[in-house]
Subunit: 224 residues, 8 copies
């Protein structure tokens, strides 16, 4: 469980893959481009793969200069490099309430894929037009884990939670205005809803939801 | 528009019926039993009918001692006396998300009835079991106005708002715990939802929703 | 009630007009210009009319390139296209507390007009100079529905609620500073006021108020 | 400016009358009956008069056992003893929005009277029936200082502020429910209102308003 | 997916077991003893097993009068009846930060057991004495799912999240005072922590955590 | 009391001077330059003097183009024009806790001067160096009204309130960071302080404090 | 650093004294009387001394039945047993803003004494009568550490912070009402104040302040 | 204790060094470049040393033009000039939870150094990889005072508080997003944690923590 490397501004958790199944993921927000570059390079050296979240295009350029195979997606703000250690069983359905929630959903989907999950994207199925959601009922029920991403349509996860026999992970987004309070309202509403089987991550934390979904499928893979 | 009577602790708005179509309604919370008794008696004298909200059973006993025909309902906490001035057209559907929201729903229903509305009660149709709601879709669509009462299942009004061609009035309730914040979360979530055609009243304010529904139907009645 | 079209990033609710009386309205905030253009074009094809709220001037330019008859108003940020299905009966009065509340009021007014309502604008009648409001008392009373738009002067709807026999819809605005909390204070104050007959929509949600007013008048039109 | 007496649990500010014109006032909340008794006795000894706010009936009984001329009023929760040093000029109008706000208003009125003010009580003139207030317009304008006490009807002070040429002091009360947030909403709304000439004290702080009114009239008395 | 029964005050979701794998669970809070009794009896009739959360001892007595085999635990406030449909694979570790968090942990553990999980209880291992937690590191790592229950020691789940290769479910509790804000602080802190693999349920919602853990293990059981 | 002029976007309260002693003051925030220009011109025509608060330099340039005698101060953001109707008796002391609070203090001072008050500025006397304040004790006591302006040093008004026999008006400012919550903390702290004789206005509302001070001195002037 | 004992509901940190200098302290709130009794007995066995905070009188009775020398103080709610390991150098001054803050101050003082500190109590020296505080300036300056305990008079620590060359620890209390928000306002205000040298503990956390003071003096004792 | 100099916009506390051991420190935020320049020059004249916090690079350039030996560090935003009066005994350990917390940590470290402390920086040791922290356990225990700086990893100080026999000062940072609420969540969580021996300063207030650490070591230095 040891294996931290001391680079001064960062203590790299190079033992994390052994402990948890996956290398440390770099949270780009608040780091300098130089810091991201250094950490990324070292992670690739050690693990052969790396993931940066909340990356700016400037970070992406710098990283790709040295690692041309790294992929950057401006919508999800992920820099991804390398193949997953193994393909995880089952499927993760990622739903959004509206079109504006898609960037956060892509962070969830991209993270889960990088960790070895198959992802099924079902976007813009908020409950204000309930048939949009019900039309995809069977597809949603086939998923092993469901991620519901919504800002103004937090109700989405309440409805889904009552439809499936699988864990549901809710991601409130900061999409909205006024009484939305930058997502706090949706976060709290998702928690207070009485649908059993729903847990919640931080506002706009698509990464956290994708990661948890992969943890669940890793359990399935290792359960035998 | 004048016609206020000065009783010291209260300025009775005896001209309100002429102005708005209905006598002043007595808000029981924070008033003494003596105060309620005095106001009630004078309202009956002037208008021949009266309504007290948030009434205690002690208030009800005192009022009924003098007005044996007054009716008190412990669940809605309403004291009602007298017939509505006229029967209003159409129908008001009152929905609840759960069983615990029924007392607030009864305040809404009882108020609307006292004002002349016909009411259709459809209780415990929260979205965690979406078929409960969809089963009653036609019945809900027949209503002229829909009142949605919910504490933990605020999502109810988002779904209903997208189903009907009629105004929807949302009543958040204080039923719930933790992240519910005594109803504040549900209040804000009902506002931030993107269902058009939904307006919101204060937490547990069944009276306000019933009153607004009656105002709408009064408009219909007087529109010709 | 079906009739959703799947465009990937959006599930167009083309059956909405049949269900609710009006086509789906496009909420511009958080959508890309490309997305708005695609949705707009398809809505016009299906319904012959369309409405975009919170539109930027860039969205407007793109839309007008293909639909020269579309109208954009920079104050209300609405793009409107096409005639209402029918003229609704009665009149909607739109009031503001101050001059700075006018943009939100115009969103309400423009939405209601697009849906077929006649609108009477009565601006800058906040209660700090109560005679400004009382002077227009008769005009306000003639309206079928009253919309009160106010940021610092939330008191406006309390006063109006006691004057009329018609439903009042309150729109808190984010105009103000300090203790105003970007409109949250006014939103809550409008709810806690004891004026019966007032319901509230989200901060700056002129659209929601205009839509609800039209729903009420649609009921009147279809009530016979 | 000195003259504090050290009684261990309290440092009595016996020099306060010289400094500010009035003896220290005892805030009963959170003090034991013994503590109130001790402080009261000493204040009477030094100044010949004393005032306790937020007094319980048990405190009142104990105090009256030794000072039979002390007066206790259960509504305002004030224990008052002794005559004001002098009669202050002018008049203080104390208004309430509703009947339930009267106890706080009585704390304001009783404090101002104990300090030498003449008080004019105008209760239950909330703006939901605006004529109740306008009927008393002249009486309100005759006051030197106006105190507006309201929980659900914070709008009251906005209207009054625009009517008079005198300072207005607003007292939010905790009367209300739900979105009222125990008075916080009304407190903030009173501040965000755009009526010039209105200042605000803490929730339910009738004492503070009465005291400030007396300070203003003391200035008038000593201005010559 | 149909199969709702209409009992007026409740629409019983008798089809829920088929849909989700488990019968509807009765949330006792806010229901009357009569309501709980009726619902419980019908659930037992249909499914042969039932669970009530937030049950009072009065509810338990009434239920046990008719169903002597029902078990009530005053700490977790659960009424449990019947055997799980099958034993789920793996193990759920339930941790608490302190002794006072145990009642919520017992709700989680009891729910998971009723649904067929094996539970390992590891209580009072908050991080203020980090060796308490580290001593049980191997035991925690053997679990398939970890539930962390904490009021003042929200840090617990941050530490655990970094130690395991399994999903972690955090339950904030309302244990604490002052800045704890009845659990809201811990709820938000659990979300803002940067430990990947942690999701959160409502304050004191042991049931929700136990339910989600069982959903995950149900997936494992049905994954083959 | 009438005399409102309808300019569409604004209802000018030209009767305000007669009612309250002073012309309507223009709140610049949220108004366009054109609107300010129109209102300013009309106010000067009617009253011979005018005041704009929260004015931008662009507003000032436009106004000065037509009224070269108008004065603009970039720190207080006031545009002032014309002489006060009369000199008011006494003196207003304006204190600040720190240097950064000076712009708000200047808004208070400039407003009071425009209304006829003499002002004594005593800046940077926060309590973290209590002798700074005590050194000016006599000067503060000579004032008829004291205005205390502070963001991080809200304690200032608590200390001053206990030193003087005159009304104190507190202005919380948004100066500060973190726990200051853009001034909300200071606003609430000023209210909760137990210094009698202190009332509070909105955050950064120097205008409101200056106006209230002038109202008090107008009372003194007209009291005879 | 090991030495935890597993009693199921509690993992006793018997190694804490060696690690930190003092035995684990028992936080009584939320524990049962049985739990407190068990823990207390074991702590006394191991360390020869023990401290319980937030103890009820029932807990005290039970503990004293077995340990007659244990002392319970109803005001501070502390159960103390045994002598400190050594007398710490210097002196801790404990100040309160008002009389109602004394119970929290006594928790601080009692804790510090149990840990070996000498305590100087200076109560009711809030800044609303600033001379009360200044009179004791020299006595305060003689202390090695100053603890300031205040609910409504948070300003106290701002003033003290600027007077001394020693660390100041602020304890906000929940004494107050309305805008005080059960102490949250004072907590935040103490943080936002610009007095350097002040740190803050949780609301009503006298224990935490006393403990930190002892930690500082322990450093002094061990610094040589 | 006197010795304030009146420069109009600032009352320089030139007696502060004598009173507290250190010159007044200039808080740059909200001051103009001119004001900082003036104050800095005078402080250097009087004390031979000066410190500016929250300084912009523009302030730094202006100051260095006259005082070329002044040092500016863009990360900590400190301008430092002059040697400490004496070297303080012991050592201050400054820890961060993550890389993004380093700027605030540098403000703490730089302040403490300017005041005469030796500082040991231990960065990026958040608890999500607990071994990072435990690896440095001995180094942390050698410190006389520990400062813990963290935004998303507030749990850091809970763990540290249980490891050491020295005072711990927590600095919440605004690093984070969503539920972090710009640091408020971490601030409150640090307070509600049950680790004894931890006190807290304002969000991002590295200066306050460094200052308090120096106050503690000054006490050690002067304790003999």
């Amino acid at each position: 469980m040891n294996g931290f490397e001391d680079h001064g501004f960062v203590k790299l958790d190079v033992g994390r893959e052994e402990r948890t199944g996956h290398p440390e993921v770099v949270f780009g927000l608040g780091k300098t481009v130089d810091q991201v570059e250094t950490i990324f390079a070292r992670l690739v050296e050690v693990h052969g793969r790396a993931l940066v979240t909340r990356a700016t295009s400037e970070m992406a350029e710098r990283v790709k200069a040295k690692h041309p195979d790294a992929e950057y997606d401006g919508q999800s703000r992920l820099i991804r490099f390398g193949k997953p250690f193994r393909k995880l069983p089952g499927k993760v359905a990622v739903l959004t309430g509206g079109t504006s929630d898609i960037p956060v959903a892509e962070e969830a989907a991209g993270t889960a894929e990088w960790m070895g999950c198959e992802v099924d994207r079902i976007y813009d199925v908020g409950v204000a037009g309930i048939d949009r959601l019900l039309t995809h009922k069977d597809r949603i029920r086939e998923a092993s884990v469901v991620i519901g991403v919504a800002g103004m349509e937090g109700a989405l996860v309440s409805v889904v939670g009552g439809l499936v026999r699988r864990p549901v992970i809710a991601v409130p987004t900061s999409v909205g205005y006024g009484a939305n309070l930058q997502g706090i309202t949706t976060l709290l509403a998702m928690m207070t809803s009485c649908a059993a089987g729903v847990t919640v991550v931080n506002i706009d934390n698509g990464f956290g939801a994708g990661y948890q979904a992969a943890m669940i499928l890793q359990l399935v893979a290792e359960a035998d």
